[in-house]
Structures are given as structure tokens and as C-alpha cells.
Amino acid sequence: MAQRTSIEVHLSPRELAPDDRGLFAHPMLYWAGASAEPDWSEKAVRNVRRHLTYGGMMLVDRADGELGFDRSVRQTLERLFPRSPLERIPEDHVLYKSFYLVSGQAGRVLRAPYLEGVKLQDRYAVVYSQNDLGGAWARDAFGRWEYEVTPGGERQRELSFRLGVNLAMYAMCLDYKDDLVHTPFILRRRR
């Protein structure tokens, strides 16, 4: 992101528990998992709910092929926002054009041809990918790709980066690319 956009990036990510008040120093959260997780405490649910309600955004990324993490995610989101269920994000949503013009899904694998999200008022406060975006982005200590990307190979990896950039742009710019001034340019390039 630092290489491709003008966004300033803290290159050392910080790991925080969901009940940590330090979450509020970081408006964008990333929650990835490969297996079922213990239920969040009530304090954690309140903390994250407050974070997301007041402007935060959380990208949830399913890394494994098992359903354990998926179940944990759905149960947790149900507790977080019982009145705002997960829904499929439409393909023409602004996050597919917030920086790159992206069509279709990407990630280390392609388990779901869609992103899901929890909408609070007019924005998606939670975006859930089942395709392991983090797996496509990950490098080892020597800078090599950590995982193979299937079935699309390096093209799919590139698309995973683009989708990741778009998600960060969406968190920071919201529906900026839906402003009328952008529409004619974007329509021309979509053709």
C-alpha cells in the first residue's frame, strides 16, 4: 500500500485483543483466523461494537478451509450486530472502485465469489472475505511469497493486492469514488 498509494502506512502491525481499549488508536482492524475461536467476552463484544459503530472498520479474513473460523465469525458478528446481519456486498459497490477497478474476487483461494459485510447506516463497518486475502499477501522473512495462490496464480495474487488496497481506501475515503465528479471517468474505463 505504501508503494502503490499516497497512504502513510505504519509498517509494524500491532496485535490487540478485542477487549483492548487500544483498538481505538486504530480505526481499521484486521481479524484473520484458521480455526474456531473461543467466544468473545461481553467486554470484547462491547468494545468492538463501539469501535465499529463510531467509525471503525474491520476486515475479517478466513485463512483455513475448515468451517470452524467461519462459524466463529458468524456467531461473533451476530452478537456484535444482531439487527444488522451479514449480507453479500453488491458487485457494483464503491469498494470495488475505490482505487483499482476490480471485478470479481481474489485471495489465496477462491472459496466464495463474493465479499460479505455488515452495514451500519451507509457504510460497511465489517467486510468478510472467505478467500484468505492475507495468505495471498504474505511473504516470509526472505521476501518470498509464503503461499501459492490458486487457481489463478500470480494474476490472482495481484488482484488480491488490489482488493486489499481498495479495502483500505474504502476505510479511509468511504464513498469518495461515488462522488459525481468521478462517475464519467470510471464508466468510460469500465466499458
Binding site: Q3, R4, T5, S6, I7, E8, R21, L23, F24, A25, P27, R50, H51, Y54, G55, G56, K97, S98, F99, Y100, L101, E158, R162, M169, A171, M172, C173, L174, Y176, K177, D179, V181, H182, F185, I186, R189
Partner: protein, 766 residues
Amino acid sequence: MEDAVIRWFAPESAGPFNDWRLIFQSEWMGPWLWVLAAIVGVAWVASALGVRRVRGRGALLALRAAVLVVAAFLVLQPGIELRAVSPVRSQVIAAFDGSNSMELATRSATRRQAVLDHWERSSSAVARLEQQASLELFAFGTETQPVDRAPSEIAADDARTDLGGLLADLAWQAEARDLGAVILYSDGADTEGLTAAEARRRAEQLGVPIHAVGFAEDDTGPDLAIADVRTDEFAFVHNTVQIEVKIEARNLRLASVPVTLKRSGAVLRSEDVQLAGGEGNIVFEFEPKEVGKEVYTISTPVQPGEVVAANNQRSLVMRVIRDRIRVLQVAGRPSWDVRFLRELLERNPNVDLISFFILRSTTDVQKASQEDLALIPFPVNELFTTELDSFDVVIYQNFSYRPYRMAQYLGNIRRYVLDGGSFLMVGGDQSFQPGYYAGTPIADVLPVRLDGGFGGTVIPWDDASFTPRLTPQGRRHPVTRIAEPGAPPERAYRRLPELVGMNGSSGLMPGAEALLEHPTLPGNPPVVAIREVRKGRSMSVATDSTWFWRFRAVADGGQGREYDRFWNQALRWLIRDPELSRVRVDARRAVLPRGEPVEADVRVLALDYGGLAEARVDVELVPVAGESVDGPVPEGRAADRTTDEEGRASLAFSDVAPGTYLLKARARTEDGPVGEAAEPVIVEPTDRERRDPFPRPEILRALADASGGTFRTVTEPFDEIPLETEQRVEVDRSRQIPLWDDVPWLFLLVGLLGAEWWLRRRAGLI
């Protein structure tokens, strides 16, 4: 016959009586009980028809009818009233127009003189009329008043003509007395908006013939007038507004006349208007540039010999408001500071937000073709030349102009601010000095001083955290008053998360005020500063971390309201929202005719925006430079008041000379000044009478036609004044003589009832 009746009932004292009438003295029952009693009585009589024996039935019917008549006689208590009466003469009112338009010239003399000549030439008809009716003279203008002097002594100096008021007074007279006719002398130039249709309706209601004497429409001296000006009371800034002007020329041979529209004394448009049939119309279209109240004046040159020169000019005050607040937000890169400010602006339904975020840096590495990017060119030229003036507020948020070769447009921003625009610079590592703004035209209009410039010392971006400190000005200023009402202003800042990152500066520019300052950096540089720069406003927020007040504050149980309050108030201050002023002055009428008082209401608000009691208010009526004022401004054009419990005060200036004024109000308390406000007021050079002084015979004709009267011009004297009236009498004396209170009537009733009973018994009905 009358004499015989009077002598019969008053043989000894018939002398004074010359009239009699039958009366009923009963006060027993109301009309519905009378009807009920009559029905019962008739039914009782009619029941005799059901008797089987034919011979007895006729007698019974007769007896019962006789009982009914005698009973009715006793109950109704009839009598005779003898009266001494004398006939009453009808009243005729001659109403003379006493407004000052009657002093205007006709082709031969003044209108007033023409009326007097007509009255003189109609003297025979008037004399005959006075034999049948009593004639009373009235003068009317603003009010209607009886006069006990000759028409030649009725002055024509009233500033209004209220024909509707005259008709109301005539209606009152018609109810009180036998009003047989009205003679009306007027030019018909009503100043209170009476139409011919309304005149017709009111005359029909009056029901008394009006014989109107007026003037032909063209019976006037030469005159050119701005006859009508129509526009909306308010307009939207930067949106086209229209002012429709109607020109009327009487007895002038003009094919066209120039008409000029001025805004605050400066010529805005000037065009020739073609006249056809003495009338011409023009529509001025323009875009108001500033929010507030603007004075517009429409004028056309005075022609030689004009009857009224003052009606060649009309002024109006137009209230210019925003349809929506147009905000341009230019951000050097996406950031949380940018995002939360955008979110706040987008939430505001009154804001029309245009955002431009620089999403790529000049050094980024792109692995995608241009076609795969959703990026658009930064329309620098369009934004900062043609469209710039359409924005109410321009925000540079951590944005440096340098990479985009925008140096040539910085002068436009300066001009935009000097001409009334609002500019806000929000901090960051690409803003203020790090953004290379020192020495640029933008630095001239910022509230903070950016010393250094090219080759100078650059004050670095400071990454340390701090809690900003309120300055004395900041404690009072609405922008930084983010605490709940009643709470100490500083407490809100102490409770908020610390800010991180600060753009230094070398202090304040002249006229600027710091509202928040850094507590520890040398010289306590301003964190938030404001400045009024000629007609515009600028503001600096020397940090890119105010979003902490919105988001980090939530971790400590807050809801981010302080952030919302700060930025919403900042926006309102930047756009000069009148609601943010603690002193407000409102002229009850922004444009008023000469001779009428300038009335104003002042409201003074406390820091919590509740009414401020016991504040001293000084109000001045100051002539606006460049606008024409007839003669010197009279003495005593200033006044002072003390506000009541709701913070209100009212006052009026009378005898104000024509011209354009600013009504200025300054309020202060023992603690110091509260604020000031100003509002334009126009006193027109003409009163209502002279604004549209042309004769309006159609009004008089409508009055005459609808009332059954006549209309004529002053050239046609009365031969005869018709009088329609019913003869009324006045009762000087009366005497009532009862017919019913003799004992034999009672015996007769008892006898008849006894006979009726006997007859029924004999017939076997009992």
C-alpha cells in the same frame, strides 16, 4: 282616518299626536310558544268537526272559534300607541381626497384646484340637494374625518390614500343614519393596494350610490416612473435571480429610456428599455455573490418637466442565502483526519461537498495500467479558476500545492478570500510551512505567520502529543466552545484525548486571533486561529489529529460530540452564519417610504445563546457612503436601550431623511463588548403617494357602477345629484292605550267556555 282614531282614544289630549299604530303588550311567551299555542288552539277548534250530530257540530265549532279569538285577545294584550312624529332629512356625504397626490398637476391646474372648480360649477345641483338632504363634508387620506369648513380649506397633504378605509367609514355612517348618497372627489390613486374588483365588492356591500368625480388616466403632467419592481424576498447566492421592472411614461414622447440597476451603489447593469403605449418592461438577471442583505437600486433619468422626479428611482433589499453550503475539500492524501472530516461534512444535509483526495504519490510504483485505476485527473484549472467563486469554503487538508504545479493558482485563492470567500488550512506534514506555503499569496491570507519562505527557516512538523490550551478569545468564541452548556470551557479539552502532531508558526498575522494554543512549545504557537481578511475569513487548524476527538474519545466513554461541535461551529463561522452572531438587529421594514419611522428590534445573546438581559445596546443609523441622501442626516440618529429578560430591545427613528443606511447595533455588558450587527435600511425619496401618482379612474368607475352611482371627470359638473332614500321619521312623543284590560272580556271568555260545555253535555259528548 288617523285623526278619528286619535280622537277616539284620546278625546281630551289629541293635540300633540299625529300618528298611531297597533301594538301588542304581551311579554309572556316567546315566538315558538306562540306558534305551539296557536296549533293547539286550532286543533281544539277543528276537533269539533268530528262531532257526529250535524246540528250540534256547527254551533260547537262557532263557540270554540269564539273562545280562541277571545283567549288570543287576552293573551296578546293589544293596544294603541299614539305618536307625535316628525320626518328626518337624509344625509349626503361629500368626501374629498386630502392626499398630497392631489397637489400634482393636471394639464390645466393641480388636481385639487380642478376639484374645487368642479365643486363650484356644480353649486346649483349641490344647493338643490341640500334642500332635500343634509350635506356633510369629509376629508380622507390615511383616515377619514368630518370637516366643518369649505372644500377650499381642505389641505392636500396626507401621505396616503386609503379608499378602503373611506368605504368602511361610509358603511358605518350608512348603518347609523339614512345615508342617501356619497359624492366622492379623488384621483383614485389608492396607496393601500385597493383593486377595482375589491372596490366593486365593497361598494356593493355599502349599498349607497357613490357619485365619483375623478380624472382621466392621461390627465396628468409629464412623468416617467419606475412603476413596479418585482423580485423574490430572498435569493440564493451564486444562483441566477431576476428583478422585473415596469416603467411607465405619461405624456412624454419617449421611444426608450435607459434603466440602471445598482448593487450597493455600484452599477450592475444598464440597459435601454423600449416603451410601447407608455409602458416598458425589463428583467435584470444576475447572480448574487455574497450572502447577507444587499441593497439594489433601479433608476431611470429624470425627464424635463416631470411631475414627480422621485419616482424615477426605487430601491429594494434582497436577502441572499445559501441553497446549500458548497465546500471544496482538497486532501494531500487519504488519512483518518481526512476521512472523519469528510464523514462529518457529508452527514450535514446543508453541505454540498466536493472532495479531491490525492490517492497516489509522485513516487509510487504502479503495477496496473491507467485503465485499471479508478483515478481521475486533478482538475486544477477548473477548480481554481472558473469554479472557485462558487464555493463557500475551500479546505486544504494536509495538501501541498507543489507537486501539482499549482503555484500559479495560489493568487486566485488569495483573491477569493479577499473578495469574501472562506479558506481553511488543516495541518499535517504537507501543510503550512512543510507544504511550502511561506511566501506564497496564500500565506497573506492565513491567520498564522509563515516566516521563512524559500531558503528561510522551516519550522519542522512536531510529532509530540499535547493538550491544546484555550486562549481568552477561545473561551468566548463559538468555534472553540465545545463544552456542554454551563460547563467550564477548559474542562472539555482536558477530558479529550491528546492531539498528536503540530505545525509550528511564527505567531499571528495582523487581525488574527488564536483560539487554541500549544501549551509548551516556545511562543505557544496557535493550534486553532481565525482571521477576517478584508471581506473574507480564514482559519488554521495546525494539526491533523482532531479526529482523535471523534474516535479515540469513544474509548473513554465519549461519543465524539466535541469533534462534531468543533467542526460544525467552524463551518458556521467560516460561512458567516448569522445564527452564530450574538447580536442581531432586524429592521421591521427594510424599505420604507419617506416620512415613516425606521423601526428595529435588537436581540443580544449570552455565551450559551440564551437571551442576555441588562445588556446595553447602542444603535446608530449611518448613511451608506456612495448612496444618495437627500440633505443632511438629522440629529439624534443614535439611541441606546437596555435589553429585557429575553435579551430583546426595540427602538424607532422618526423623520429620517431619504437614503440608504446601515442600522448598526453594538451590545456590551459590564464585562465588555458582546458584539455588533448591521442591517441595511432604505428610506425612499418618495412617499407612497408619489410612488405611483397617476390617476386611477377605473377604481372610481368601479365604485360608481357597483353602487348604482355615477362617474364623471372634473370637466363635467353635476346638473343634478340623484338622491335615493326612504322617508324616515323621528318619534318625539308617544302614549300607549291598552285595549284588553276590561273585566267584560274575561266574563265573555268564561261565558263562551260555559256555553261550549253546555252544548257538549246536551249532545251527550260528556
